[in-house]
């Protein structure tokens, strides 16, 4: 973050004009404005990041309608909890990404969602199977999930459980009947590969 702000003109002091759509903020001023509850900066944040965050949510909550509910909650949380964002611990997007992922996992683990999934699995027939698999395919094709798909099976399963389903390493060790050390090593290795894929 530091080098990015240094490389830019100190444009913070001139107020961004509403008429122009080309207003840009560097991350530092965006954070400052958000913490000051500036509505325009929030609008900018939404316009620039809602799509990326929606994709994150969709990778956890496949249902588009539910995912859009979660995304709404994500932005409301960002607006209300921006105070708790600490730039020393990472970039703004990283923080938002984790807000989105956590809320999405919360949704999937909620009782309401679990019940709705049970109810949906009751009807049988071609119709449901086709649409179900179609949704699944499209979700597998977006964002990190697409890259995770390139991983070896033994890595892919663990990243899926850890990142997209939110299980702790200990829980995964139990689920997969693997030693905790093995789970940790495999996840670390998988993450290093992921890093190289998205570079």
């Amino acid at each position: 973050m530091a080098f990015e702000t240094q490389s830019q003109e100190p444009s913070f002091h001139k107020p961004p004009t509403r008429l122009s759509n080309t207003v840009t903020y560097n991350e530092q001023e965006l954070v400052l404005l958000l913490k000051a509850k500036d509505q325009q900066s929030f609008s900018y944040l939404y316009d620039n990041y809602s799509g990326a965050l929606y994709s994150i949510v969709l990778q956890v909550v496949a249902d588009k309608e539910l995912a859009s509910d979660v995304l709404q909650e994500v932005f409301v949380n960002i607006w209300r909890k921006i105070e708790s964002y600490d730039p020393d611990k990472g970039r703004l997007f990283t923080w938002m990404l984790n807000v989105a992922r956590n809320l999405a996992i919360d949704m999937v683990r909620s009782k309401g969602y679990q019940n709705s999934q049970k109810n949906q699995s009751l009807p049988e027939g071609d119709y449901f199977d086709k649409t179900g698999s179609a949704t699944q395919q499209s979700v597998d094709n977006i964002g990190l999930k697409k890259i995770v798909g390139k991983l070896k099976e033994e890595h892919r399963v663990l990243i899926d459980l850890a990142y997209f389903k939110g299980y702790t390493h200990e829980e995964i060790a139990k689920i997969e009947s693997l030693p905790l050390g093995t789970v940790k090593t495999r996840i670390r290795n998988a993450l290093i590969q992921l890093r190289d894929y998205i570079k």
Partner: protein, 272 residues
């Protein structure tokens, strides 16, 4: 620990993606605070993650922005972030709901009106009854207040009389009926200290019109006027004139207003 090894251990990715344990997280933040190389590695991964996510953005439903805005700013409609399409989905729904709701409302209103009218009649009658009863109560209350005042006044009068009689300086002169009215009797209470004279009428015939009883103090054989008796005030002790010295008291019936010396026979008399 070798920082290069640490950086390439996967901790950076694990931390940024939120997969590190609490312990790992705290350790990472500690090292980051002092180690620029680690910070750069973290930022490099964060940026590539962000760019990857931006490149893989998925179109968001159009109405969502307005929904979020409404949730954040309830009450302020269409503030700065309005998108025009936002309301499209809700519009067809609104009239249907409002019709059924207004019908329901109308039905409820009619029921309420009928009920309220009936209640009005009932309550009006109750009200009229109550007002009549209240008037009665107020009247009887006033009556009681008046009689209470009278009673109080009488009681006060008796208390005063009792206190006069109780006085240890009081000499009591019983006056007996004379041949002209043998049934008559009066009593003089004569305070030896203050010389005040009070007359108690135990019984005297009603005087004829234009006539009035007069009390006399007999001082060394001479009758001295001790005051007129008003028959309207004979219920208690009647204060008469102050008499410093007397051997006896007597009452005669004189013309109204009294005489200088007794002109008529004595009705009652008593020695001090």
């Amino acid at each position: 620990m070798n920082i290069q090894e640490y950086i390439s251990s996967g901790i950076v990715e694990s931390y940024v993606l939120g997969l590190a344990s609490n312990e790992e997280r705290l350790e990472f933040e500690q090292v980051c605070a002092t180690n620029a190389e680690l910070r750069q590695a973290r930022e490099a991964f964060e940026i590539s993650l962000e760019q990857h996510a931006l490149a893989n953005a998925v179109p968001v439903p159009a109405e969502l922005k307005q929904k979020i805005w409404n949730q954040i700013n309830p009450g302020i409609e269409g503030a700065t972030v309005v998108s025009i399409q936002a309301d499209k989905k809700q519009q067809p729904l609104a009239p249907v709901r409002s019709i059924s709701f207004s019908k329901l409302l109308a039905a409820a209103s009619v029921i309420l009106l009928v009920g309220s009218t009936l209640l009005n009649f009932y309550f009006y009658n109750q009200y009229k009854l109550s007002v009549a009863k209240l008037d009665e109560l107020i009247a009887s209350n006033q009556q009681m207040a008046i009689s209470n005042t009278a009673t109080q006044a009488k009681l006060q009068q008796y208390e005063i009389a009792l206190n006069i009689i109780k006085d240890t300086n009081m000499a009591v002169v019983a006056m007996k009926g004379q041949p002209i009215a043998p049934q008559s009797a009066t009593t003089v209470y004569w305070n030896k200290q203050t010389k005040d004279v009070y007359l108690l009428v135990n019984g005297l015939p009603q005087p004829a019109a234009g006539k009035q009883y007069q009390l006399w103090a007999i001082v060394d054989g001479v009758p001295v006027d001790a005051g007129m008796l008003n028959m309207n005030e004979t219920n208690g002790l009647v204060k008469m004139k102050n008499i410093p010295k007397a051997q006896a008291f007597a009452i005669t019936l004189e013309n109204a207003g009294g005489s200088k010396t007794p002109t008529m026979p004595i009705y009652v008399v008593g020695k001090t």
